[in-house]
């Protein structure tokens, strides 16, 4: 590829990651006097907060994804590189990639996000299903349907019970939202489409290590979430840690076992690893500690934002949430532009907390906005509007709204099916730079 960058294009800003942080940063830099390269191993931005709806057959994967090239097709100063970052060379100012070679930078914005955290337990990594990215969400949908189909066909009562027992580990927003959606899915399809099975035969267990659901939200909202989930048939176990997982189920710290073919992992995430950052101090979740302007100490032109970064405010880290990432991404862009334009450094980053929320199911969500607390149908409406607003792409908004409306009125999940992608014998080195399992080759 010819180097299209002309010398007058301004300093080179390289952004690693097209999630909420990287995308917000790149958008803020459109048409500014900088030359931006956005690097991601995926060719799309995924709207993480709705992954659980893909997993529960309410939305299709493309509904909550948006091609990065599409997002910047009118931005002549933003270039997309579909590649996997392998290392960063802070001193020489290089991002090394597999797929796009070495990419030199004047400014670097690290926005590589986070992945599932199994706390060093390989059994948990091997025998649970995560929900952190689209390929996982689609896998989970396939898995749920396959469990129901197997339950129909198996004669062994014990195995049938295992197929119809679903364990969700982690009572944060992701775990609560998926559990609520899963119970609704089972209610909708079991008994109506699987006449051989009955709704009573299914068991959904939500396990949380602390003493209540939604520990990051005000206590009353966690209590409300528990009440709603239990009323809808979920067994909620708080104060229980999962010690191990096997193909047969999970074992809790006390020794209690739950036989299940489906263990969903939403108990923790940790910052993505990247070679070359060994000298930077990290938090327990692997987040890079930044200064008050989100820069790596000693590297004033290297920023870290979103889940990958940890800014300590009054001794506490900002949470790993999309709004934090977006505000940090925009701040990094402003800070870079201030330096480039010589307009003086901006004040330290301050997070403006606009609230947190979680949906529990039909007509039931919780939201904490400032001192206000919302539950029930009102919380649910607030949740809907906010998520539609932040979803990228007009088409996506229309399709998602349509699917929500269809589900609400018809109580139907017509995309509940097992879909595959055939192995690609022609791909060979087309995507050889991706890690095994993400390549499209055979």
């Amino acid at each position: 590829m010819s180097d299209e960058r002309a010398p007058d294009r301004g300093p080179r800003v390289v952004i690693l990651g097209g999630g909420f942080g990287g995308l917000a940063c790149a958008r803020r830099l459109v048409k500014e006097p900088v030359d931006v390269t956005l690097v991601d191993r995926r060719d799309y931005h995924q709207f993480t907060p709705l992954l659980y709806q893909v997993a529960s057959a309410l939305l299709t994967a493309p509904d909550i994804a948006f091609p990065l090239r599409r997002a910047f097709r009118a931005a002549a100063n933003v270039h997309i590189r579909h590649a996997r970052a392998t290392a960063v060379d802070l001193d020489r100012g290089l991002l090394r990639t597999s797929g796009a070679g070495e990419i030199p930078f004047d400014y670097l914005v690290l926005a590589a996000g986070s992945e599932n955290d199994y706390f060093g337990n390989p059994g948990l990594a091997a025998h649970t299903l995560g929900m952190k990215k689209l390929p996982e969400a689609q896998r989970l949908r396939n898995h749920l349907v396959a469990c129901l189909e197997r339950a129909v066909q198996i004669a062994d009562q014990e195995e049938r019970r295992r197929c119809l027992t679903f364990v969700v580990v982690g009572g944060g927003p992701t775990g609560v939202e998926f559990t609520g959606a899963l119970v609704e899915l089972l209610k909708l399809v079991l008994g109506r489409e699987y006449r051989e099975l009955s709704l009573d035969s299914a068991r959904v267990v939500l396990i949380e290590g602390t003493d209540r659901l939604l520990p990051a939200l005000p206590e009353g909202l966690g209590r409300y979430a528990r009440k709603v989930l239990e009323r809808r048939g979920v067994e909620v176990l708080t104060g229980h840690l999962v010690e191990s997982a096997t193909a047969e189920g999970v074992v809790l710290a006390g020794g209690q076992g739950i036989a299940s073919r489906t263990v969903v992992w939403s108990a923790g995430i940790r910052a993505t690893e990247l070679d070359g950052l060994e000298g930077v101090e990290r938090t327990r979740a692997g987040r890079l500690l930044t200064d008050e302007r989100l820069r790596l100490p000693g590297y004033p032109r290297v920023y870290a934002v979103g889940d990958l970064a940890a800014l300590r405010v009054d001794g506490a880290e900002l949470p790993m949430l999309a709004p934090v990432a977006m505000q940090e991404g925009r701040y990094a862009a402003r800070s870079i532009l201030a330096e480039v334009k010589g307009s003086g450094p901006p004040p330290p980053f301050r997070y403006r907390d606009r609230g947190v929320m979680a949906v529990i199911g039909r007509n039931a969500a919780v939201a904490a906005v400032g001192r206000l607390r919302f539950t029930g149908a009102l919380g649910w409406l607030i949740w809907l509007v906010v998520h539609l607003y932040y979803l990228i792409g007009f088409r996506n908004r229309v399709v998602v709204l349509l699917n929500w409306g269809w589900n609400y009125v018809r109580k139907d999940r017509p995309i509940r099916m097992i879909t595959h992608v055939d192995p690609d014998p022609l791909a060979d080195d087309l995507t050889a730079w991706l890690p095994a399992g993400e390549r499209i080759e055979s």
Copy 2:
């Protein structure tokens, strides 16, 4: 699983395949005095005529699929078995499956459809991409996008040209429709989203073995299709056979080679194989020859319909088309019911040809209905209405219409992205009965 069939449920009708033929047959048998079991290795019906729109990033896979269980959830006498048929025992009246064991039948309707035909050439099978089922269509979409991304990143001019050369083999409706959609996709994304590439750098070649496109349609329509495709930039090679394919491209019978990373195979389909039918006479495409009532000779309770069956009318076989399959499926159901109810045999099957059509692209399609010929925008409108009408599921119709409208007005393909499904470590034997490559396990 307990046998739910009560003795008063009537004769057991087993239908193999939930495509157009099997689905139409099962629908006709709803609430009739027979006990129906519909067996398919997929849990959904796929709307084959629109697969090429999934491959060209216009529709998502679930948009053109419909869960079989959903289709029959109100039909107490229709049971769905998600299983793979391994053999049929005509004399003992058993369908053997992997996944659901042995299924006994009083009447059997074989509607297993067809698959890609490589005419015994393993190189073609290994180095081309088919478009006969959803996992193939999704693979093709991923592959196209991966080729564009690689073209951006590769320095080698020759390899870049290979990545931007797309060969479609087969000038029937599927090949013509996909070629037209591919050219539109490239026009939409190249130059707008891949600014590093130009539309002129891409090459699309359509190869047909006979002397004209759409050989099954009236000659004037084939000429029109060629004219439209050529005007839109496609190189059309008629009268050329593809002799071999490698990872580097194709070689034509005359020795001419075309270097390409993408060879799409739509040059032939053949009936699906099934053990136990060795005694039945087959056509060159492997179709089972039936009597005039679509029954296997010597087995008056075994029907074959759709692509799997060949009924010779005036010396010619009925074509492998969805309308033929649907009419045959309904006929088989009527014929079975006539026997069950003792109302005397129906007259021999007669195909009512309501016309054939193919879309070439924006505002351009061809249709032959009786003696009428339609081209251009009128043909295109007819095509749209007919396909929306036959698509199953109200939600699917709305979403497909929405996508078509979006594409028409905005000239945009927002679902143009590479999506994967992660391997499933928990699936193990959940789908062990499926052939390798279709399992959801790791």
